[in-house]
Amino acid sequence: MMQLTCPLCGPRAENEFHCGGTTAIARPPLDCSDETWGMYLFFRDNPKGSHAERWRHSYGCGLWFNLLRDTVTHEVAAVYGITDMCPKVPS
């Protein structure tokens, strides 16, 4: 089982958390084209490797926060606040 670190509660088991998918997706202006709006709603990078994603400590304190996690090894390179910029992590 993965162990994730909630910024408030510390290390907890994966099944206390809920993954909210890719983080920091910028919404385009509302008068954008259907093409742009479709890309915003549905299309994702889905990288094999480092992925910035949002998680919620649903069965704990309820906090939303961000992770930089590898989608192959599941290693977490960074934990950061929901409104923070993704820190630069040496690869």
Binding site: H18, G21, G38, L41, F43, R44, D45, N46, R69
Partner: protein, 423 residues
Amino acid sequence: MPNLTPPRKRYSAWNLLASALHGQADWAPAWRDAEPKARYDVIIIGGGGHGLATAYYLAKNHGITNVAVLEAGWIGGGNTGRNTTIVRSNYLYPESARLYDFSVQQYEQLAQELNFNIMFSQRGVMTLAHSRHDLDSQSRWVNAMLCNGVDAELLDARQVEQLEPRLNFGKAARYPILGGFMQRRAGAARHDAVAWGYARGASALGVDIVQNCAVTGFIKQGDNVVGVQTNRGDIRAEKVALAVAGHSSVLAGLAGFKLPVTSYALQAMVSEPVKPVLNTVTLSPGLGAYWSQSDKGEVVIGGALDHFPSYAQRGSFATMQQVIAATVEMLPSLGRLRLLRQWSGIVDVVQDSSPIIGATPVPGLYINCGWGTGGFKAIPVGGWTLAHVMATGRNHELAEPFQLNRFHTGRLIDEAGASGIAH
């Protein structure tokens, strides 16, 4: 130097008896493990069920035989060998019903067509209802299926118990069984046989099946894809197709476009083999698990996705624990069985749980992806419709609603019945 490879023979009782005279030593390999040529008419990336079926139907339905299937590992070693082999068409919407029922119809005659026993056993797929809401939504589901010409019947609790007496009908059951519904034409097939049957059929028609050949990039002329770079050199082709399931986004990235796909790990597991204990394929959407028994006697157990993006072909213990808890709850008499194997495949989940079959934004490049957790059942129709669009330049009518542009027009096919299990 005489050709030592014996000619490929039909599989039949007569040929089996005749070969007994030679100790069964004169069978040719089922398919040819080819070396890649420098140029083909069509390259298909991915030697799973969908890729091999595409090659087979290109050759059989359209006479296009100068085709290579490039597989990074071994054929059928990805999701084709990592699923729970369920074949069904119990979908909600007309577009999906047409697509998946065509696939079930192909499966019904595939063993004869391919001369390869795919062991399709139409033992029925039964979905349990644990609440009044389940009963109501299943009435709607069954009505939709019947309107779409797909067989379905509602069951009361007594009928469910007759079909599957080992389910938990005890008074203390956490999830009481109030009824369910059944698609009797649905069932299970042998996954390796489907891959090998299509490989044998395609190979006999002249298709090159190339294993250990990983695509590392695309060769472009202007915007057009005109070939692929691989670990075994450059290979050129007029048209290239992607049939790589969980790795669709990675290859689309190499070709320069994006997909509405997220990759997740989906686990399954089998118990040690036991005598026949299960008659059908049974799903409990409430518990998030489903069960069947393989011909070897193993109880095959599937469940929900690991709910975070993953390319690791191994499952999380959190999901496994939940699936096993569901099994022990629903089938108490199996509680002492030992698990024999557990595995996972990387599935390509699309927002509306429906596939994408057709052209991509990159000229010369086609795609078949987005089957998510239900690709195995769709192998015949996925191959059939992808071959059609590549050979004719027009979408097959079954695949017309399943184009990439639906994510811009908003014409999604939000298929609630897609997974059977609520993912």
